[in-house]
């Protein structure tokens, strides 16, 4: 552990607080008797997808794009996730295959 027990608990609670805030806010701002503005409804429809795009990019933020041995395992593993998912449509299987491929690549090949 890099942090002390107190620091760890504070960090975990800070993260929990952030998560709780994002969950409670919509229901707090729009109680049952209040009408939801059209723009917010529009956001509710389009944002989940745009956010997933953002999170995918987030995962690659620390990949060193000047190093072939860093990029290749990522590309191969992502491709295996996509192919498995398109063929089998099974979320768990796709994650499992992708992770296994990546672990084998970084541990034994690159």
């Amino acid at each position: 552990m890099t942090l002390t027990v107190f620091q760890s608990i504070a960090t975990i609670l800070a993260i929990a607080f952030g998560a709780i805030l994002t969950r409670v806010l919509p229901f707090f701002v729009f109680p049952e008797n209040k009408k939801v503005p059209k723009f917010i409804k529009y956001l509710g429809k389009v944002l989940p997808c745009a956010t997933m795009g953002l999170l995918v990019v987030y995962c690659f933020k620390d990949v060193d794009i000047t190093s072939l041995s860093a990029i290749l395992p990522q590309i191969i593993a992502v491709a295996s996730v996509v192919i498995t998912h398109l063929l089998k449509k099974n979320t768990l299987l796709s994650i499992f295959v992708g992770t296994a491929v990546y672990m084998i690549l970084v541990q034994f090949i690159f």
Binding site: L13, P48, D62, P73, V81
Partner: protein, 249 residues
């Protein structure tokens, strides 16, 4: 009377459980991966279970490993949690109607809303002989328990087996890639998904790896707002400027 009630709850469980099975397997796997990684950073099963129970935000918990293994910075951890979990805002907005009138159970439903619960809620119909609040509650409760159980098991496994976990964190990338594919399956979403990826990429290049998330979100929101209001300007005049200003926060 008692018997009738028990039978009713059995019926609810019988209907809901099969729909949550993919989540059971997924959360067990990811939970175990998370528990093992926590163990690697010096946090035992107790820590992992505690964190999963109070945070219940899988992807952010993976991200938080960074915050637990570098200098103490709870404010940045909080902001990052807001950003990574911001999609809950959008799930919440979509669930405003579904969770209406769920009474005492509503708080639990709100606090445990996650990607998987959202996707079941929106894709599985509630049968007429089951009360809506019990239907949603069962889904949320099952998924919550799977995650806590999975991370507990992972914490234990991490203590028992010593294996090379290098690359295990790819599980998170794989999860996001799969969720992304699921999103862009519908044709209407494709442009939006591409838009999210491109905007974030631009911000990543401009702002570098540590701070690009918040600019990305602001840029995404800004462009969507501009797009929405420029489209509506012609068709409906009633969308007043007051509203658009209020949405820039």
């Amino acid at each position: 009377m008692e018997n009738k009630k028990t039978n009713y709850y059995k019926k609810v469980i019988k209907y809901v459980f099969p729909h949550t099975l993919p989540v059971l397997t997924g959360f067990l796997f990811l939970g175990i991966a998370f528990g093992v990684l926590m163990q690697k950073h010096g946090y035992n099963a107790l820590w992992t279970t505690f964190m999963s129970a109070v945070c219940f935000c899988g992807s952010m918990q993976f991200v938080s490993l960074t915050f637990l293994s570098t200098a103490f910075n709870p404010l940045l951890a909080f902001i990052m949690s807001l950003v990574v979990n911001a999609r809950h805002l959008f799930y919440g907005i979509s669930m405003l109607g579904n969770y209406k009138g769920t009474g005492k159970l509503k708080n639990f439903l709100i606090l445990t809303l996650c990607d998987e619960t959202f996707s079941i809620n929106t894709s599985v119909p509630c049968p007429s002989d089951i009360e809506k609040k019990h239907f949603y509650f069962a889904i949320s409760l099952f998924n919550y328990l799977y995650w806590v159980l999975g991370s507990f098991l992972g914490g234990i496994a991490g203590e028992l087996i010593k294996f090379n976990t290098k690359g295990l964190d790819f599980a998170l990338t794989a999860l996001f890639v799969v969720l992304f594919i699921e999103q862009i399956k519908s044709k209407d979403n494709r442009l939006m998904g591409l838009f999210g990826v491109l905007t974030t990429l631009v911000c990543l290049i401009v702002f570098k790896s540590n701070v690009f998330i918040i600019p990305s979100m602001l840029l995404i929101l800004g462009i969507l707002a501009v797009n929405y209001y420029s489209k509506n300007k012609n068709s409906a005049q009633k969308t007043n400027t007051e509203k658009s200003e209020g949405n820039n926060i």
